[in-house]
């Protein structure tokens, strides 16, 4: 039998609840303990105490206490509710839902429990459960509009559009007169209903509805956009044209509106004259705009293009628009356009502008024009489709001479060095750019990025620290984590990966992974918040976006890198102890290896100790290690990632990154290829083949895929024990379509080469297969690899990949040196081929 409280203690208990609500946790605990002195087994009080402790970050103790509370009072909804809340705090939503359900069975009328349950159902996308909860909540309080809206959302997201619309309409019909115009909630709910109707596919009805309600909706732009969209999709072209015209009058810098207008006007994409007229009319109407002047360059050809490009380039160069080149380079896939632009701008700098006056401002204008033109040419010759780095350098020097304070010019100089393959010089030059404008964070960020590319992690962090809050726990790096600075963490991690410092690399990739978890968790509060605010369309869009959060390129990038790190770790377990010299040759000296390993272990211990000392010093300096909001921030017990890197199961850990990657970015061929690598090593042949098939359907001639097909065939031939019959059957039949068993492999490889003979990466793949098929002819293969450097088309990046290949093949130092020397003489400015 649960213990009862005296009336005095019962009022104390109410106080505990109040303290909790007001986040006065210390007082809450004190009062709870006061009750417990007299009634030590009072379940509800124990539960409240547990809840408060959980909010203070004492998760484990809180759980123990909550269990004790339940033991004392199994029939208390408070105990069950608290139990659920603790699970929720741990993000164990399934258990939390169970606990809430128990609580609700005991106290079916409880609004707070019902609400907490509903929120979790939404978070878990349990739409059927959510519909049920929301129906109950609506029945309890039908006077609240948000209860109606919430039920409609539940139906909508579950896919029942008809029911969603019906719920919204039912509420609307209770309104005798239209709510005041200031009622945003109504305005939004009306548009939401329109969105539901449109999604059901009945655009006629959506348009009709929009026409009848749109005039009193305050989100004017949304109504205009929806209307234009519906009209165009319905083929009501004349009205659609008018609607897009109205949108352009509001915002003439949105190319989607021009696209809509052109479609509505039924203009053929070949009718350049008519198209040009449309854009010209907008350029005339909004002379300061860019889009109507720039878009025609996409479709004009020949002399028309030249004329329009001339006018455009001169105008933008006079204005000194720094993004001019970024805007123009998109045209360069068309070689004629690329050459025309080059010819035009070279013309500007070779024939002095005649402006007929000698006064100072004209001279200055002329100077600005010239430096802009040189700057343009520098970027032009730095761009991969029009590259001539020495010309790029000459032009940037001229631009800098004319305008030595221009940060952008100096930035371009750094970029040119990057393309030369001299990352050290690039970082130095970018640092010079930073010093021109030390108050600007953009150039500061660039300087740090270039330092990371040059593997100068400490210098980069030092630069970053000029704009971070360094008093937070963990200093500048802690602040970059806290502020979710994904780009920096990614670059830092990739830099460590290049240096084979896998612990720190994994540390950064996991940090970004965790940021995505936080972003997913972020939606939780909006399940209730947005209903109160009434901004339903934005909320529904957010929910849908969260469902595809990890298709973001930021995620794909760290996932790919993390998987690479884990593969390295699997293949070379010694790397767990730090960067080790690459295995020198085929007969790696075991004693030598052990010596290096010992040294690495020592270094790792030294670093760990240094880090601990650094932290201790910081702790002592800051007597009060609290962040601004008073929460105690937990210190990271593994700042160097040593625990991560010393995993026993690198491949299993890689799955954490791989699984979402393959789910959300299945079209990323690199993801599929890395998926193959992981699954092959795990001996999961069916999964490995699945990746190959996916990669094959994305790009059948991909060079990485080509090598993997052969490796898969060889792996199947060499199985130590046969595959389970069902697996074997599937694998055989599916793989047959990619690389038939009867296929002569050397012929297959040769035909791959002849089909892709103008591509060095394909040649690399061909040679790798050669190496796999005839390992005994390695010296010849190596020589052939070196000869790929003679090709005029080979890029610096590809050449570097060639050097990595020699590593993969286990080639000896001599072969590597020969290759590197040859590459060095081809790219004398580059430092990338220095053999460490």
């Amino acid at each position: 039998m649960p213990q009862q409280l005296s009336s005095k203690d019962a009022s104390l208990f109410r106080q505990v609840v109040r303290y909790y609500e007001n986040k006065q946790y210390k007082k809450g605990i004190k009062t709870a303990e006061q009750i417990l002195r007299k009634t030590p087994n009072h379940g509800d009080t124990l539960a409240m105490k547990a809840l408060i402790m959980s909010n203070q970050g004492q998760q484990e103790e809180a759980f123990a206490l909550a269990k004790e509370a339940l033991k004392n009072d199994m029939k208390s909804h408070i105990c069950w509710h608290v139990y659920g809340l603790l699970y929720r705090a741990e993000k164990n939503y399934e258990e939390a839902i169970k606990a809430y359900r128990f609580a609700l069975r005991i106290e079916p009328e409880s609004q707070p429990i019902q609400r907490d349950l509903a929120l979790l159902q939404m978070q878990m996308r349990d739409y059927q459960g959510y519909i049920q909860s929301r129906t109950t909540m609506l029945q309890a309080r039908p006077a609240f509009r948000q209860n109606w809206t919430a039920l409609a959302i539940a139906h909508h997201l579950s896919g029942d559009l008809e029911e969603a619309e019906k719920v919204l309409t039912t509420y609307e019909e209770t309104l005798k007169t239209p709510p005041p115009l200031s009622d945003m909630e109504h305005s939004e709910a009306t548009l939401y209903k329109n969105m539901v109707i449109a999604e059901s596919g009945n655009l006629e009805k959506a348009l009709e509805h929009l026409d009848s309600v749109g005039y009193r909706i305050s989100d004017v732009l949304a109504v205009m956009e929806m209307k234009a969209d519906y009209l165009l999709r319905l083929g009501r072209k004349e009205e659609a044209a008018a609607a897009y015209t109205a949108l352009l009058e509001r915002n003439s810098e949105n190319s989607l509106y021009y696209d809509g207008l052109i479609k509505a006007k039924d203009l053929s994409s070949d009718d350049h004259k008519a198209l040009k007229e449309v854009y010209d009319s907008w350029a005339e109407k909004y002379p300061r705009g860019d889009s109507p002047r720039r878009i025609p360059l996409d479709f004009l050809e020949g002399d028309d293009f030249k004329q329009a490009a001339d006018a455009y380039l001169q105008r933008m160069l006079k204005k000194g628009v720094p993004s001019l080149f970024a805007n123009i380079k998109l045209l360069y896939t068309n070689i004629n356009k690329r050459d025309t632009v080059q010819e035009l701008v070279e013309g500007y700098v070779s024939t002095p502008q005649s402006n007929g006056s000698a006064d100072g401002s004209a001279a200055k204008d002329n100077n600005d024009f010239l430096s802009s033109a040189y700057y343009f040419l520098a970027q032009h010759y730095n761009y991969h489709l029009s590259r001539d780095l020495s010309k790029a350098m000459q032009n940037v020097e001229k631009a800098i001479e004319l305008s030595p304070k221009a940060v952008e010019y100096q930035m371009t100089k750094a970029r040119i060095w990057k393309h030369y393959g001299n990352l050290e010089k690039a970082a130095e030059e970018m640092e010079k750019a930073r010093k021109i404008d030390e108050k600007d964070r953009h150039i500061n960020s660039k300087a740090a990025k270039y330092q990371l590319r040059n593997n100068e992690n400490d210098k980069a962090l030092d630069n970053m620290s000029k704009f971070t809050r360094n008093e937070t726990v963990g200093g500048a790096l802690g602040d970059l984590h806290e502020m979710q600075c994904v780009w920096y963490l990614t670059e830092d991690g990739e830099s460590y990966l290049r240096q084979r410092k896998l612990g720190l690399a994994l540390k950064r990739f996991h940090a970004v992974f965790n940021i995505f978890d936080v972003w997913q968790e972020d939606q939780f509060d909006f399940h209730s918040f947005s209903l109160r605010k009434g901004m339903i369309r934005a909320y529904v869009d957010m929910v849908r976006w969260e469902d595809r959060l990890r298709e973001h390129p930021f995620y794909a990038r760290i996932a790919l890198s993390a998987i690479k790190a884990y593969l390295l770790l699997h293949d070379q377990p010694d790397l767990a102890y730090g960067p080790l010299p690459v295995n020198g040759g085929d007969e790696a000296d075991e004693a030598e290896r052990k010596k290096a390993l010992k040294k690495a272990k020592k270094e790792q211990q030294r670093l760990e100790k240094a880090e601990a000392e650094k932290r201790e010093a910081i702790r002592k300096a800051a007597a009060n290690p609290k962040s601004t909001e008073g929460e105690v921030k937990k210190e990271d017990p593994d700042p160097l990632g040593n625990k991560l890197v010393q995993t026993q199961e690198p491949l299993k850990d890689a799955l954490k990154f791989l699984t979402p990657l393959l789910e959300y970015c299945p079209q990323d061929i690199e993801a599929q290829c890395l998926g193959f690598e992981v699954h092959l090593r795990r001996g999961k042949y069916a999964l490995a083949l699945k990746c190959l098939s996916a990669a094959h359907s994305i790009d059948a001639s991909n060079p990485t895929l080509h090598v993997q097909l052969l490796r898969f065939r060889q792996a199947l031939n060499k199985l130590s024990e046969p595959l389970a019959p069902q697996v074997a059957e599937v694998v055989d039949s599916e793989f047959e379509a990619l690389l038939p068993k009867s296929q002569k492999l050397d012929e297959w490889n040769a035909s791959f080469l002849s089909e892709n003979k103008d591509s060095v990466p394909h040649k690399h793949a061909y040679l790798t297969c050669q190496q796999l098929l005839t390992p005994e002819s390695k010296p010849e293969t190596e020589k052939e690899l070196a000869s790929t450097l003679d090709a005029s088309i080979v890029s610096l990046e590809t050449a570097l990949a060639g050097l990595d290949l020699l590593g993969e093949w286990g080639s000896n130092q001599a072969a590597k040196t020969a290759y590197a020397e040859k590459a060095s003489s081809k790219w004398p400015e580059s430092t990338l081929f220095r053999i460490a």
């Binding site: 732009l221 509001r250 720094p322 509060d525 369309r537």
Partner: protein, 243 residues
């Protein structure tokens, strides 16, 4: 070429938020959690805009940018003052930034004008306010000379590094919607509805309003800062264990 797009009304480009956050932290010292951007996008979805680079050959889907993740080169993050001390509805620019590689195209001006118009139309904002570093000549020029803001006051040590800010504002009432006209249309429609009105059906039983249950949602104080997320915005009785 740069396109100026709405962030989270219609169409919704809310998937650009991570790139907007990156744009912010690359350019400015004042940074926020993603949740703070979400909070803006979901509370005032009409007020924020984003500038993106149109990909080569346009957008793949044709009529939408969603799911394409183009490069973000600028944004304006804006809100309404939640509890104006003087009771006057007004908007506030939380953050505005354009990559320095994309300056001189008028992007910041256009972002500001779009946001200001939305504040006036959607929220009947009397004015819009913002803060700007006293040393930021270019921004000051934009706000004062191009857009027509006026300096309201100087707030000393407004920024974390100790720099002062100009508090600026600009009147927006000239862009308000004509409510009288809309109400006239309301009356017109009602009159024509009544002419051909049927007897209205009784609505479903759950739809019956209980007259006295017009509970007003408790006003909730909302405090937001650099390190506060919406977690702190949730009303206090959210996780109430008993009542």
């Amino acid at each position: 070429m740069v396109d100026i797009l709405p962030l989270s009304s219609y169409p919704s480009y809310i998937d650009l938020l991570p790139a907007i956050q990156t744009c912010n932290i690359t350019n400015l010292p004042e940074n926020y959690f993603l949740k703070y951007y979400l909070y803006h996008a979901l509370t005032w979805p009409q007020l924020s805009f984003v500038a993106v680079v149109r990909p080569r050959n346009g957008y793949k889907a044709g009529n939408t940018v969603a799911g394409e993740y183009p490069k973000v080169v600028g944004y304006v993050l804006a809100k309404m003052e939640e509890e104006p001390t003087d009771g006057v509805q007004h908007g506030h620019i939380t953050s505005l930034s354009v990559m320095r590689t994309h300056r001189r195209l008028g992007i910041a001006e256009r972002l500001m004008r779009m946001s200001q118009r939305a504040m006036a139309e959607c929220h009947r904002a009397q004015f819009v306010s913002l803060h700007v570093r006293v040393s930021n000549v270019a921004a000051l020029h934009l706000y004062r000379d191009t857009l027509g803001f006026q300096v309201d006051s100087v707030e000393s040590s407004y920024y974390a590094d100790g720099e002062d800010a100009y508090a600026m504002r600009m009147d927006l009432s000239n862009m308000w919607l004509d409510w009288a006209e809309i109400e006239r249309k309301d009356r017109e429609r009602q009159a024509s509805d009544e002419k051909d009105a049927d007897e209205g059906d009784e609505v479903g039983e759950v739809g019956k309003k209980e007259e006295n249950e017009k509970e007003k949602e408790k006003m909730v104080r909302v405090k937001v800062g650099r390190s506060l997320g919406v977690g702190d915005l949730v009303e206090r009785n959210e996780a109430q264990a008993s009542s």
